[in-house]
Every structure is written in C-alpha cells, then in structure tokens.
C-alpha cells in the first residue's frame, strides 16, 4: 500500500480523480430502478437479499435483551421456516458485541461492530484504533468504521488515508468496511474521491452511510461507488465489496440494489462476501414479500415478528 505518499502527492491525486456528472448518474440509476425481475426469480433475489443483509441495531437504548432478540431473528429470520436463510451479519455498537457472541454461537451469522467514534468520527485516531482493537478482541468479525469527514472536507486526505490504514491494521483478521457517510460529502465527485481513497487505504468494503444522516444510501450514490470499485479493480485487481446502509426498508428497494450491483459490478458481486445491505426494518418486508410470492396473497405486518 502506498503509505509513503506525501500529502501533496495525495492531494493532487485526489483532485485528479475523475468527476461524475450528477444528472447522468441519477438518470442511469433511475433507469436501473425500473428493471423488473421475473416472478419466478423474485424468491431467489429475496433470498439473496437476506443472505447479504447486515441486520442492524445502533441505538443508545440497545440492551442485551434487544440484541439477543435481533440475533435470534438473524439466525432464523422466519421462525418455523428453515428455508429462509440466516442473514450475513448483525451490526451493533461495540458494547453489544459480547451479547452477540453468546447469541450467535454455532451459527453462520457474523458479528459486525461499528467503531471509530461512530457516527461522527470526531475523535482521536489513537482512540479509534483502540476502539477497533477492543471490538475485535470482543469478538467482532467485521468492523464498520467511519471516515473523518472533517478532515476529508478540509482537504486533509492524508489524515483520512492514514487513519484508515491504522484502523485496518488494528482490525487484524477482521474485515474492514469503510463508511463514507455520503450524505455529508456534498456531491458525487466527493463520493467517488472518498471511495478511491478508502479502497487505496485498504478497505475491504466501502459503505454508504451510518444511517444517522440524511440522505443515507441512494441508488445513484451506490452506482457512483460501484463504478469507483469497478475502476479500482481494473487498476489493482483487488476486489472490494460494497455495502448500502440507511433508508433501505422495502424488498423493492433491496431488489433495486441487487439490480444495480449486477449491472455495474456483475454477477461475481452477488454474494455476501462482496455485497451487504445494512438495515434494521428491511427484513420483515422481505419476509412478507417471500410469503406473498409463495401464497399469492398480500401480507399483513401482524403475522411477522417485531424484534
């Protein structure tokens, strides 16, 4: 990795990142959102959406009880129906990792923890690194870090870069997802720049949002990030995953992300190793759609557990 890059080099490199035309990106995303997949394929797509899901709770009021319930849902989204697969991971605050470890023992569901002074990232690098190390030690398989938007927006790309490198190192074996918080970056040019910076610094995944800022994930932002991934893979050969998070509530939205992934990155990305959908309330809608497809009748929320 290019840790030796000096500030001036990195700055000029970042300013040299190709621009994105907002209207063009919006239109392409909108046209992809109109794609429909065939009825018989819908079940497979919904199944994939679950397999790629990071079931998330990130609230100050999260308790061991709440997290235990979430984990139960993660392992067995539809009680009594083993054909519905477990989700990819649960995503929690660091203090709740221990609750997950207990609840998820023996399952395939991974534990993801946010870290690095989530969601603002406005703290000391040493603390972010320490938090990451603690989280991994507590049992997190995946770390969702936030970039220092303050540094990014003030043009201090080196600081952002170095911090990602440091956190990546602190992750050890754990996978690193780098949250760009695209809703705070101002435009797609910055989204693309942040994507490339994060990938160059070692991100395993790049992720749209914390879910704490509006707008969170949008289809055009996903498109822009995926195009950056595509270019990065072309340049380096290293595949990087994509995670959309925040505001994804319906199965229809989830399918739109699958379509855009397929069209932009191709079928190799249609797997939990490279695609994640972070969401707290999406799962039930997906489950309702699965039942709708199976039974032919539109469903009621009363029949799906609120966890």
């Amino acid at each position: 990795m290019a840790t030796a890059l000096s500030l001036t080099h990195l700055g000029s490199l970042m300013r040299g990142v190709r621009s994105v035309d907002e209207v063009g990106a919006d239109e392409r995303a909108a046209s992809l959102a109109k794609r429909s997949i065939k009825k018989s394929s819908k079940l497979w797509a919904l199944d994939l959406a679950i397999r790629c899901m990071d079931l998330t709770t990130l609230e100050g009021q999260d308790t061991p009880g709440k997290v235990a319930a979430l984990c139960a849902k993660a392992v067995r989204p539809k009680p009594g129906d083993a054909t519905v697969p477990p989700v990819a991971a649960v995503c929690v605050y660091p203090l709740r990792i221990a609750d997950c470890v207990a609840a998820l023992r023996g399952s395939s569901v991974r534990i993801a923890s946010v870290a690095t002074a989530f969601p603002s990232g406005q703290s000391f690098t040493s603390i972010k690194v320490a938090e990451t190390e603690e989280a991994v030690r507590a049992g997190a398989h995946e770390i969702d870090m936030v970039i220092d938007r303050g540094a990014f927006l003030s043009g201090d790309y080196q600081r952002v870069y170095d911090e990602i490198v440091a956190v990546k190192e602190a992750c050890g074996e754990a996978h690193l997802k780098v949250i760009l918080e695209t809703g705070e970056l101002g435009n797609y040019d910055a989204v693309r720049r942040a994507s490339i910076l994060s990938m160059a610094a070692g991100a395993d995944f790049i992720k749209t949002s914390t879910g704490k800022v509006q707008p969170a994930a949008t289809l055009p932002v996903a498109l822009v990030m995926m195009e950056a991934i595509r270019d990065f893979v072309r340049e380096t050969g290293r595949p990087v995953g994509f995670k959309a998070a925040g505001g994804i509530r319906t199965a229809k939205q989830a399918i739109a992300y699958l379509v855009i992934t397929y069209e932009t990155l191709g079928p190799e990305w249609m797997t939990p190793d490279r695609l994640r959908l972070g969401a707290s309330t999406l799962l039930n809608d997906v489950l309702m759609q699965i039942d709708k497809e199976r039974t032919g009748a539109y469903q009621s929320a009363d029949y799906f557990t609120v966890d």
Partner: protein
C-alpha cells in the same frame, strides 16, 4: 479629360477582372462591365468560405461597427451614387440604403436577444437556443433598385455573421460594383462580401447548384428563375429565402440564420 474607372469584380477583397476576360455593356451604354464566369463564381465562393469562420467569430459589437462604417462610407459617396443611380428616385434610394445599413448595424448585438430563447425543459438541464449564421449566402440583386435591393439583403446577411456572394443587377451593375468599394473601405475582412457582375442566366445555375453555398436569397429573381434555383438548391438542401423584397426585419436576419440549441445538465 477625366480619368475613367475600370469596373471590376470584387472577390476576396480584391478588384479583379473576370478570369474569362469577357465584358459586356449594360443598357447599351459605353461602360465595360466584367462578364463574370462560373470560375469567378467558384473563386468567390471559395473566398467566402475561407472568410466565414473568422467573420462569424467576430463579436456582434464588431460586426455592428463595421456595418455602421459601411453606412458612413456609403453616405460619404452619396453624390457619386446618386449620379450612378440616376433619375428622380436616386437620392431616396441612396438614403434608404444608408438607413438600411445603419438599421442592421444596430441589430447585430440584439438579434440573439430577440430570436434566441432559454427553454424551460422538463428536466435538470439548462437549454438555450441561439441564432448562428448559416454560412455562405448567395444573393441576387433586383434590377429595379440596384443599390437598395442589394443592400437590403447583404446587410441582414452580414449582420448575422454570414458571408456573401452577390450577383449585381444585370442591367444596372455599376452601383453594386461601386458598393464594393464602400465595403472595401469599411474594415470588412477580405472575402466576407464578394460581388459579381455578368449574365444571370449564365451564373445563376452555378450559384444555385454550388455545393458549398448554404443559402440563396431570390428577392431579385423571376418566378421561373426561382423554380430553377429551387430545383438545383435541393442538391445540398440549400435554404431558399423568399421574403418580400422590401422586408426589413429581424425575421429577415433570422432567415439567414440557423437556430442552435444547446443542452447541459444542471448538477453539483
């Protein structure tokens, strides 16, 4: 004993004899006028085409200044033109020709504001339409007002940034050739206006069929000539401009123009 003027064609900013070496004496008079050939026409079109980008690229303000300068030069030679035109209406024709140049001189920097538009399209795009010169324009002057008739068409064509190959009135070509002297002293770049004399019957078909002429104004043509011109014009989809001879309006300038529409997304 006076020193007589040799009348010459005006091509590429120079006064030249017809390459054919031929001349004719209009109206049974004693003055030899060059009988332009198809090769002279070809040279004139080539000169015009070469001059086009730079003339079209001049600022509107600059084109206006030059047209006004032409009005000054024309007015300064008023006596000469009145004599050339002859007859009771000569003075009036001259005055109107000067007035026409002044009028169009003031239009150069207003035409886009009057005929251009910003178009409120239903999407995140900035969209505007502006007039641009069509290119090389052929103009056929009418015989009855050999000065004014020509100025009425040359001025609006130049106003928009076109370049001109004009055919002088066959029976009364002298005012047109003298007008060339006016243009030659008005800071008009070489080739922007070219004036040919000769037999219309001989030259018109070449002008109408020339593949590098973009438009042709037929104010001075008979119905039969218009039909022939329109048939030939189809060869390269020439614009055939058929507004009334007395037309003086931005609609006439616009007839020598193309409307260009530009789209650009609006985004951050």
């Amino acid at each position: 004993m006076d020193v007589r003027k040799t009348y010459k064609l005006f091509v590429n900013g120079e006064f030249v004899r017809s390459e054919s070496g031929r001349a004719y004496r209009p109206d049974g008079g004693q003055v030899n006028v060059p009988r332009g050939s198809r090769k002279d026409l070809r040279d004139a079109v080539r000169a015009a085409r070469t001059a086009f980008p730079a003339w079209a690229g001049r600022t509107a303000m600059n084109r206006g200044q030059i047209l006004y300068r032409a009005a000054e030069m024309l007015d300064g030679r008023a006596a000469q033109f009145v004599e050339l035109l002859g007859g009771a209406r000569a003075r009036r024709e001259l005055d109107q020709a000067v007035e026409t140049l002044v009028w169009y001189a003031g239009w150069t920097d207003k035409l886009p504001q009057v005929t251009g538009t910003v178009n409120p399209v239903a999407g995140p795009y900035f969209n505007f339409t502006i007039p641009e010169p069509t290119g090389v324009v052929g103009i056929v002057a009418p015989d009855d007002a050999p000065l004014l008739g020509l100025v009425r068409r040359v001025a609006p064509a130049l106003c928009g940034g076109n370049v001109v190959v004009a055919m002088a009135a066959e029976s009364r070509p002298l005012p047109a050739l003298t007008l060339a002297e006016v243009f030659a002293t008005s800071d008009l770049p070489a080739g922007v206006v070219n004036i040919l004399t000769g037999q219309r019957k001989e030259l018109l078909p070449w002008l109408a069929s020339h593949m590098d002429v973009n438009a042709i104004d037929v104010a001075g043509c008979s119905g039969e000539e218009v039909k022939a011109i329109e048939e030939s014009a189809a060869g390269n989809v020439k614009r055939v401009i058929k507004l009334p001879e007395g037309e003086r309006s931005p609609y006439l300038i616009a007839a020598f123009m193309e409307m260009k529409t530009v789209w650009h997304p609006i985004g951050v």
